[in-house]
Amino acid sequence: MSLSWTQHLILVPVLLPLLCGALLIVLNESRHQLKFCINLASVLTLLAVALALVRLTDSGHWPEGIGVYLAANWSAPFGIALVADRLATLMLVLTALLAACSLLYSMLRWSRIGVHFHSLFQFLLMGLNGAFLTHDLFNLFVFFEVMLAASYGLVLHGYNLNRIRAGMQFIAVNLIASLMFLIGIALIYGTAGTLNMADLAAQIAGLEAPDLALLKVGAGALAIAFLVKSAMWPLGFWLPTTYAAASPPVAAMFVLITKVGAYAILRLWLLVFSDEAGDAAGFGLNALFWGGMATIVFGAAGMLASDVHGKLAGYGAIISSGTLLAVIGYGHAALIAPGLFYLLSSTLAMAAFMLLIELVDRSRNPVQALLAVTMEAFQVEETPDELVGVSIPAGFAFLGVSFALCALIIAGLPPLSGFIAKFTLFHALLNPGGDAAVSTSGLILMVVVILSGLAAIIALMQFGVRTFWASGAVTVRLQVTEVIPIAVLLVLCMGITVQAGPVFGFVERTSADLHQPGRYIERVLNEPVVPGVLDKGN
């Protein structure tokens, strides 16, 4: 007896980028067309696999909509389990979509300003996908490190002074965060004796008080590592500099990295510190809530104050991650579905914005920071002026319209997806269900979110007026491969607006899954191993 092919599909999002990235290392840098094609083929396959996994989890193919893959056929608390549920597969789809758009955008110039862009890109995808799928804390650490190692390389891609300076901070901060991650893992293992998330959730209610206190310290250390990634105030000062310095396709992928931290918190906290966790239920949610609010305020202030476009986008990402953290920290089940919808919409829009501002900057100032040390060192021949590709007419109009759409979504104004996200969020806050009154902290959250939207729209309007209504606007020549990714991302945002019903149904089912940790524990721990060759002899 062997596993069905659908079961093996869970492993593909990790294995394929690993193999593909390794293959791309040996190809010579001058064959960039071939490298790009292999990379794109891999990303599109990942997208297809991710969509297939969404279908499998959502169509009742797997019991409870949870697919479990036991690595090396070890049963769950002993071996590493990969788990594909609705949340994980949703994030896989989002990753693959962003990757496809960033990659296409990088085709003409950004992938050629340094070496090994395509390999690093694949390894980044491997780390991201693995972090979404794994159900083991130490394995999560390993995938985080894979993701981070690739991201260190990508920040420095096209080695210039800005990127080195930003990289020095980014890498140092993340190395320290990784140490916190390890301390957290060690403490959790030392007290609970397990690193499997489901097993940990099953055991936490039975822990003695001294052990539980140590476990909470461990969970706190772990949370610091996640919150550094998701740039919670005061742990997120590295973010605006890094985003502004990184090349645009890389910055677009980094929008997702901030979401990985929020994802890990969402997954771990709802599973381990659920209502069934006894004394540990809801541990740290308060800190998360107020920290998230401080992050929103910090991001809004930063957005108003920044004059560098890259930093403007970076602070926008901070607001979106702060909103997500505050929503998780509020600790009310009805808020998670709007939070997930917000995650989808804001990630897509922020990524589009990251790509867009580079085109805007280029139209205003053609000789810009592209000049990289590596271009000379590795004899990359292409200069920005002799680009191949088709340019599209009415470039400036396209930039203006896309910018307006991005601004609407980021600020959360009607009629696009940002508004739906905020509307459903406020609806859930104002209708806590039953006889419960609207809580004060909920009202404060609403005020903060509304004010951050106001700050965002002021900052973005200022940017738009200066850019698009300034006199002496130049004619822009845009390349098709750079326009399509932005258009696709924005069309997706419109798509989830028009199809808000089905999408919202999906995120609600996701949220319902997350709030029933018992089903996870049962599914993961009871997954049978495949009877092996050795057993047949008996």
Binding site: F138, E145, L161, I171, S178, A186
Partner: protein, 114 residues
């Protein structure tokens, strides 16, 4: 034995924290190394401290768990050492690159104004 190793880890981690707050990138690097050594030791002792207990057995049949040290923390610490070593080496490369491009070993890439 516990108190000795706890103090050793504390001193090492504390020195590391002091060093990463220094302005020179080499000090930062050494600080990171010290902290990662301390964390590795910390993971290791989370399997508790034992004397004369092997982590593995080659004997037939089901072994008595009381006679063996926890092998998992040893496996974890090996992985953590390898990963920590690799990322620190990567930082070292960046540090040298930064020194070459900016001409200074200050972490900000420029000397502070006097």
């Amino acid at each position: 034995m516990e108190i000795t190793i706890a103090i050793a880890i504390g001193v090492m981690f504390g020195s590391g924290v002091w060093l990463i707050l220094r302005p020179r990138s080499f000090q930062l690097l050494i600080g990171l190394l010290l902290m990662s050594f301390a964390v590795n030791l910390f993971i290791f002792i989370m399997g508790r401290l034992w004397v004369d207990k092997p982590p593995l057995t080659l004997a037939e049949g089901a072994p008595d768990p009381a006679a063996f040290a926890d092998p998992l923390t040893q496996a974890l610490v090996l992985t953590a050492i390898v990963i920590g070593f690799a990322t620190t080496a990567l930082y070292l490369v960046l540090m040298i690159g930064s020194r070459g491009v900016t001409g200074t070993d200050h972490v900000d890439g420029k000397e502070p104004d006097q």
